[in-house]
Symmetry: C2
Subunit: 428 residues, 2 copies
Amino acid sequence: MAKLKGKAVIAQSGGPTAVINASACGVIQNCLKHPEVFTGVYGGLNGILGVLKEDLFDLSKEDPVEIDRLRRTPSAALGSCRHKLKSLDKDRTDYERILEVFKAHDIRYFFYIGGNDSMDTADKLARLAREIDYEMVAVGVPKTIDNDLAFTDHCPGYGSVAKFTATSVMEAGLDTAALYTHDTCTAMEIMGRNAGWIAASAGLARRKPQDAPHIILLPEVPFVLEKFVKDVKESLANYKQCFVAVGEGAKTADGKYLGEAGGAFAKDSFGHAQLGGAADTVRAIIEQHVGVKCRVNRAGTSQRVAMHWASKTDVDEAYMAGAAAVKAAMSGKSGMMVTLVRTKVGGKYKCTTGLVELEKVANGEKKVPAEFIDANGTGVTKAFKDYIAPLLQGAAKVDMSPDGLPIYARLAKKMVKKKTGKVYGESK
Amino acid sequence: MAKLKGKAVIAQSGGPTAVINASACGVIQNCLKHPEVFTGVYGGLNGILGVLKEDLFDLSKEDPVEIDRLRRTPSAALGSCRHKLKSLDKDRTDYERILEVFKAHDIRYFFYIGGNDSMDTADKLARLAREIDYEMVAVGVPKTIDNDLAFTDHCPGYGSVAKFTATSVMEAGLDTAALYTHDTCTAMEIMGRNAGWIAASAGLARRKPQDAPHIILLPEVPFVLEKFVKDVKESLANYKQCFVAVGEGAKTADGKYLGEAGGAFAKDSFGHAQLGGAADTVRAIIEQHVGVKCRVNRAGTSQRVAMHWASKTDVDEAYMAGAAAVKAAMSGKSGMMVTLVRTKVGGKYKCTTGLVELEKVANGEKKVPAEFIDANGTGVTKAFKDYIAPLLQGAAKVDMSPDGLPIYARLAKKMVKKKTGKVYGESK
């Protein structure tokens, strides 16, 4: 069978990670190896937005040194977006525009690196293309620090954010342990709006009972004020300190996020409801209901792009997923997402890749299972530690400059001449 | 001259750093090498509080592997405190209590690793000892991430926090650069209540004009709302994004910290004054006066104890300062603090140690000088980059565990039997 020939577009979507560029590097380098299939290799500027706006740039014109450095560069070097397309049966405009751009440039391969929504977009696109008989291949590459994609053992990006988070908790925990006579409690806010995978990773720092974090607040375990206050007091009684790892998605039984529900638990000195994040609410609760000082740490976006402390395993697997996507595409497997498959060889962790239908992934979501959460609901089990340990292994390489800081890739982004003659409206 | 023989007490004070334990290691290992002088080597639990309470532990009974690991362990392993002693002429009680404890245990050497206040305590103690003819030696070892101690070229702890901060800004800056269509601005809060040395270090991340941070807010430059809003708009016009490195000590011309002054600049949706840190105020200003979304990152204590990305130069110098303190003490030099002295050998940075009177240090404070701040007041100069670059060099070693995370030192802290027969009141 003659292989489908045409150009490839690679795009990144959603929140950046330490390794989404490693996946892009895997796709780009492997596409460039096959000019007999991929007649051009383009990047979509800021994800699907770049395709909609016909903002495409030529990756074959980048310095190969910079392309290779993507493997050691955090965030999303092609540009990312949070542009959610409407559902196909409600409004086909955007999907038709994408196919218009693809046709104009003879784009036959679409590699989308992202989470649930991106897989949904790629899936819809592949369906519509089939419907209108435009031959093309859409392959998804999983990416999310949240580790909540179904059908894959874990997600590229998770191992690195987990390694950084657990290390930060360990370090900040030692800070609290040193200064407990003054700063008795610390609340550290950890990303993960829907699932507690990253917050759970903080639990790795607790090798002994006295170690931080003494309490983890997971979205999977409903927050109950009285129970929490009791847990804090118990930690203070046992260890004279309390370090709380606060998942930003922690919520009450009736589904209110801690950040939003702040006012229900604690008022500021003027009687106003507290505003802020989940950790701010925890601080207010501790200061008012327990009566001791509480510090707040919230690394924010820094945690998800902490390439300087990334897991080598994670980086390698992210690259592998990108390479596997190209292989799948060249076999004509459209409408699929690459998965990471955990195996054991000689009792040792090994990771290979598999494929799953995009449609299944788009509608799945994976929470932290009960067997990974301890009986009190505030810690993790040995089963979880066994699951995650292999994902953190090894120090990812970073190129260093004489100024003492990392060198991260810079792409020239030479834009491709537009061909559709139409202008897409500004993004919302 | 016969050397003064007696026990040594080592204590740590104030905010932890990545390398205060490296200094302690330098003191401990070098004291243990000289049993002919140091008849015992004790740690003060939680700084001067431990001395006051007679909570001393025997460092010679620790596993030498753990003592050596202090060099690769963040925070303050001996325990720290924020207990400020009253001035000597107002209330001598605490100083007399300390000398009582020293006499009871034949403690003749006091090594205090800390900032301004600690140097003041050590100084007063040395004075009182002379006054009552108790022969003892007090030596200070500088420690502060804030880099604001006078008479030393720089402070152990600064290089590491600067390296981590600049790297975090670089990484989070790439995050903003990738997602600017959605998250246009980011305000990252950086420690330093009185001086902007750490906030300034963020400026290293900006190698090209489009790189973060586009604006640095330093305590040394008074904050003016209109000017700031103009600078943000200019950054948005030029780069479609704006990353603000917010020194927590940034303040208005009339001396109000940004965190406190929040309400003067922006109200929340209920018309209440914003509460929170300096970066929260910046976010509120950007959202209300510029009208775009702003994220807030605040690593908090994590930044000052980020051993996993510490500077090898900083760690080595911290150890060297500890070793130099022992050498000075053995030469009978009491009432002095070790300083770091910058020299050049063959055009290359070299660091040696010196000594300065504790009294001078206690009353000095070093701000970021004008020649290190750019004309607009929101960036740093080449002179600053030249000053700081050598301090960031090299990757500090960290012991790694099979679980993928660091191994930090654990001290057994075998307590010394109390001898004064008196109990010191609980700390405030």
